[in-house]
């Protein structure tokens, strides 16, 4: 594990040692230095757009699912493919898509239930590995990841940001508050590692305050930052008194304190804030609002990594606006195909609205945020009726600074899902000899998409 220097300054620590060192604030200000506006960045942006419920099932998913048309796979492959019904909303953004992918990662027989598409498909597409077998419990749906999800893999990769990380290594956002369970995997998609989730910010007001809510009292913010040095001293004394597993949790807490401290140091230097949004619980409208705020943050280089959970894995969102009476998890389970079609189509419209916010921002270079970004669109399985992990969706939207060829359809029936991971990681400039674990390892990328 990477060790983060806890403090660049030692004077408070000196005070702790017994010799009280009282410093007047102007001196502190001088020590902190004035950090100018966030430096303009031209580096690639990596994002994840996740929707719950997979795709409407069709013959390609298995025998029990047969009898319905495939509304996802485009009828042609290669450059400038003919968009399918469900990809049509995304067509203005010219996303590349890979169809036919499936997990190659093996799961053990015990504890039982790890092959459940919700869990296996989710983990493989988000992490390249399986669910952690230890402690997995299908009946109570208790599960965790073995590895960081792709957003965190990128955000913490030493080569992605280099030495100067922005104000947020990543922003973890979402829209629907419906949850299959009120814990863990079922209301968050971003993991740092086992039992270490990043719950998404679902409230536009909260996101606005995080990004643009700057306290007028900047000297007060500096004092709050300095206070965290003492808190970290306390944490260190605790860390030496607990066992190995808990020490890891305390060390993560310390790292987070350090990040929060740095943020307090840099507060008061934000870009011109957009207007504060009004609350809106309509899923599509909320996606646009969150997308707008995110675009503002990306445009002023507050971060270059995000994930957006439109709806959670196995979402229980009720699309009553579409005339779908049951929650979406129950809807797909019950085999109500037309309702599944309506719910997925609506989620694709939300995906389009989201990409539209990134495309709307034209940067000083003349390109848009979407030109600079690679947005990975995915769901937790191929379809929810039988939880099939065949034919999982995989969208690569945006140009990644010209490293991703746009508007290409690659068809790879039964292909290893981690080929998409290798493609994307290389696309955002990370050297990736191979990716995937436990049978899912691959060094292959999709050459038709990766420039």
């Amino acid at each position: 594990m990477k060790t983060t220097p806890l403090s660049r300054r030692t004077f408070l620590r000196g005070a702790v040692g017994g010799t009280a060192v009282a410093l007047a604030l102007p001196t502190l200000e001088a020590m902190l230095g004035a950090r100018g506006a966030e430096a303009a960045s031209t580096g690639p942006i990596f994002g994840i757009f996740f929707w719950g419920g997979g795709l409407p099932w069709h013959d390609g998913h298995g025998a029990p699912q047969a009898g319905h048309p495939d509304l996802w796979t485009p009828s042609t492959t290669g450059k400038d493919y003919a968009p399918s019904e469900l990809l049509a909303p995304l067509a203005p953004f010219q996303p590349s898509v890979v169809t036919g992918l499936t997990p190659h990662t093996a799961v053990p027989d015990t504890p039982p239930g790890q092959s459940d598409g919700h869990m296996r498909g989710f983990m493989v597409s988000m992490t390249g590995d399986r669910v952690r077998p230890e402690g997995f419990d299908h009946p109570s749906h208790t599960l965790t990841a073995l590895r960081p999800t792709l957003d965190q893999y990128v955000a913490k990769h030493p080569a992605f940001y280099g030495p100067e990380s922005p104000r947020f290594r990543s922003l973890i956002l979402g829209a629907s508050t419906a949850r299959f369970h009120d814990y863990g995997h079922w209301n968050a998609i971003s993991y740092n590692g086992p039992d270490d989730l990043n719950p998404p910010i679902l409230d536009p007001g909260q996101l606005y305050d995080l990004l643009f809510g700057v306290a007028a009292d900047t000297a007060g913010l500096k004092r709050r930052a300095l206070l965290l040095d003492a808190v970290m001293e306390d944490a260190k004394s605790l860390s030496s008194r607990v066992g190995a597993a808990d020490k890891q949790r305390i060390e993560a807490h310390l790292e987070h304190l350090n990040a929060v401290k740095n943020r307090l140091d840099f507060s008061g230097e934000a870009c011109a804030p957009p207007g504060k949004p009004a609350p809106n619980e309509d899923l599509l409208a909320k996606t646009e609002i969150m997308g707008s705020l995110l675009a503002s943050a990306l445009a002023c280089n507050m971060t270059r990594v995000f994930s957006f959970m439109l709806s959670s894995p196995a979402t229980t969102h009720v699309f009553s606006n579409l005339g779908v009476p049951n929650d979406f998890h129950a809807t797909v389970h019950e085999g109500t195909w037309e309702h599944a079609r309506a719910g997925i189509m609506y989620q694709m419209q939300a995906f389009a609205a989201f990409l539209g916010r990134l495309q709307a921002v034209v940067e000083p270079t003349g390109g848009t945020l979407l030109d600079r970004a690679l947005v990975f669109g995915l769901s937790e399985y191929g379809e929810g009726y039988q939880h099939s992990v065949a034919e999982m969706p995989c969208v690569l939207a945006g140009g990644a600074n010209g490293k991703i060829r746009r508007n290409v359809h690659v068809r790879d029936p039964g292909g290893n899902y981690s080929k998409a991971h290798v493609t994307m990681l290389r696309g955002v400039g990370l050297e990736t000899p191979s990716f995937g674990w436990n049978g899912g390892e691959t060094s292959e990328a999709f050459g038709d998409i990766l420039v």
Partner: protein, 555 residues
């Protein structure tokens, strides 16, 4: 790059313990009931109590708030905190195993800043809070307060090093005044991991080197978080200081005092909410056109009803705790009285009144009340499987494993003429792959078929089809939910399940194999006390398994 591996030593013990517990409590089960665990699992009887290594629970959001409201007053600002997780039903288990996110840490910082600003903003309020007026940064007023207040926050006296650290902070950051320095020091204390995490180190036990005895302060913390869902008060810390919590008698006396306090009631309600999985009510939606009794206020009423019933059994009547599954007594507001079709004089939307459900009616016990019936049903139809699964898992603590890979887990959608849920589920019985588990879950679930997805009693299905609520439990035929309630009145597994769930909640983890004797012991003491829940709590907190911890395994 950060790459975390599963906890090497301890997690294995934790999860193996989980499987062992199922093996113990599931001794007489059918093949369907899973024993989840590693292949090398050894199920031989344990000779003696082997204690688990301590967990390091972070305070849950409720524990954080309850504790600070006690210290800062009810007007304290309530900033948002990261949601707790609850693997295996309990927030305490999530608090012992999950890592807080970066944003969660930021929320702690913002919360501490908001709370202390509020507490120190008004000169009269801050003077009352601190009890003296600092004349200079870090003076005796400041130091005295940090010592006194720090003891409550850290749940033990501060070390001299800690005192000097926080006094220094109050001096260094005393801009523009000594008050501001003190405010920031207080803000630092409530952001300290010594407040946010419950540290248990214990002291060596001369009699048995493989275990450590929790110190008085650690016992005070355990007792208080279990029985009050918040940190200890001064009286409890004083008891710890005097050594009163080093002996079971002293612990019992302290626990009795805590249990006499209203704070114990909400703490026990919180336990029962988790054990009974009432959080699932939150996500429930019903179309008012289809379910006219499902008013906007009824979900809260359903939860409140169970809480009041639990409170009555545990604290008021102190009856057999298992009777929550069979009693005809309940508490209704106007919404629930309408749903149940009963008279409840004095009930309004906001006022609950005690009622006796009709002796010849269909309802008795919480499995016939709104909460259970609603949260274990779909929006447009009931789910005998979900209801039966709840009976197995939540009431009996049995494990129903996942369907085997490749099994079609869906029902044929209704086509053509209307079919009852039972008819749709016929495949569960006739398809051998389904039958293995569904014959375990569905038959008790069918007993509730007279109650629709909102808990309303119906006499016919849609389309005038007759209702058949017959089912069975472990092969014993039953006609309906009332008959099941009668069985549950004396069912031994119900009491043991309560003990197991309380134990998990109290320990913040799954019981280990080495603790099975403790569970057996507690279950028999519970039975010996005619299933008085308050007695069970006293037995638990004075038990060796609660007072000692094992040595931390080396990785």
């Amino acid at each position: 790059m950060v790459q975390r591996r599963p906890h090497p030593g301890r997690s294995r013990a934790r999860w193996l313990g989980f499987s062992a517990a199922i093996a113990v409590f599931g001794a007489s089960l059918t093949a369907c009931v899973g024993v989840i665990g590693d292949a090398d699992e050894d199920t031989t009887e344990q000779e003696s109590l082997v204690l688990a290594a301590p967990a390091l629970p972070r305070l849950t959001a409720a524990q954080y708030r309850n504790t600070l409201v006690e210290l800062f007053g009810a007007s304290m600002p309530k900033a948002p905190l990261e949601d707790d997780t609850k693997p295996f039903l309990f927030y305490n288990i999530g608090a012992s195993s999950t890592t807080l996110s970066e944003f969660g840490v930021q929320q702690y910082e913002e919360s501490a800043d908001a709370i202390t600003r509020h507490a120190f903003a008004d000169p009269a309020r801050r003077a009352a809070f601190v009890g003296c007026e600092p004349a200079a940064p870090g003076d005796s007023c400041v130091e005295g307060f940090l010592r006194r207040f720090g003891r409550r926050v850290f749940r033990r006296p501060l070390t001299n090093e800690e005192v000097s650290r926080w006094v220094s902070v109050s001096q260094t950051l005393a801009d523009p005044s000594a008050w501001e320095g003190l405010r920031l020091a207080v803000s630092g204390l409530v952001q300290s991991p010594h407040f946010l995490y419950r540290v248990e180190v214990g002291a060596p036990d001369d009699a048995s080197p493989e275990r450590r005895k929790l110190t008085g302060y650690e016992m005070a913390t355990r007792l208080s978080f279990l029985l009050w869902n918040q940190g200890p008060d001064d009286a409890l810390l004083d008891a710890a200081e005097k050594g009163e919590l080093d002996k079971p008698e002293g612990i019992a006396a302290a626990a009795e005092r805590l249990l006499d306090d209203p704070r114990a009631r909400s703490a026990m309600q919180a336990f029962f909410r988790q054990y009974l999985d009432l959080g699932r009510l939150d996500g429930i939606q019903r179309d008012p056109a289809a379910y006219p009794y499902f008013t906007p206020t009824i979900k809260d009423a359903m939860r409140r009803e169970v809480e009041m019933l639990v409170e009555d059994v545990v604290f008021e009547s102190r009856g057999d705790a298992r009777s929550i599954f069979s009693t005809r007594k309940t508490f209704v507001n106007a919404d629930l009285a309408a749903l149940y079709g009963i008279e409840a004089p004095g009930a309004t939307v906001d006022t609950f009144v005690p009622v006796e459900l009709p002796a010849d009616g269909p309802r008795a016990g919480i499995l016939t009340l709104g909460a259970f019936l609603t949260m274990n049903a779909h929006e447009t139809r009931t789910s005998p499987t979900a209801r039966g699964k709840y009976v197995r898992e939540r009431v009996f603590c049995l494990e129903v494993p996942a369907p085997p890979p490749g099994v079609d887990t869906t029902l044929d959608p209704p086509m053509g003429e209307p079919k009852t849920v039972r008819e749709q589920m016929e495949a569960h019985r006739t398809n051998p792959a389904c039958a293995a588990c569904h014959t375990f879950m569905d038959p008790p679930g069918f007993l509730f078929e007279h109650f629709d997805s909102s808990g309303y009693y119906r006499t016919v299905f849609e389309g005038n089809l007759p209702i058949d609520s017959s089912g069975d439990l472990d092969g014993k035929p039953l006609a309906n939910a009332r008959e099941l309630a009668t069985v549950l009145e004396t069912e031994p597994r119900v009491g043991r399940c309560m003990v197991q769930q309380l134990y998990r909640h109290a320990q913040g983890r799954i019981e280990t194999k080495g603790e099975r004797l403790a569970l057996e012991d507690l279950a028999s003491r519970f039975a010996g006390a005619s299933f008085d829940f308050r007695t069970l709590l006293i037995e638990l907190v004075t038990h060796d398994a609660f007072r000692y911890i094992g040595e931390e395994e080396s990785p």
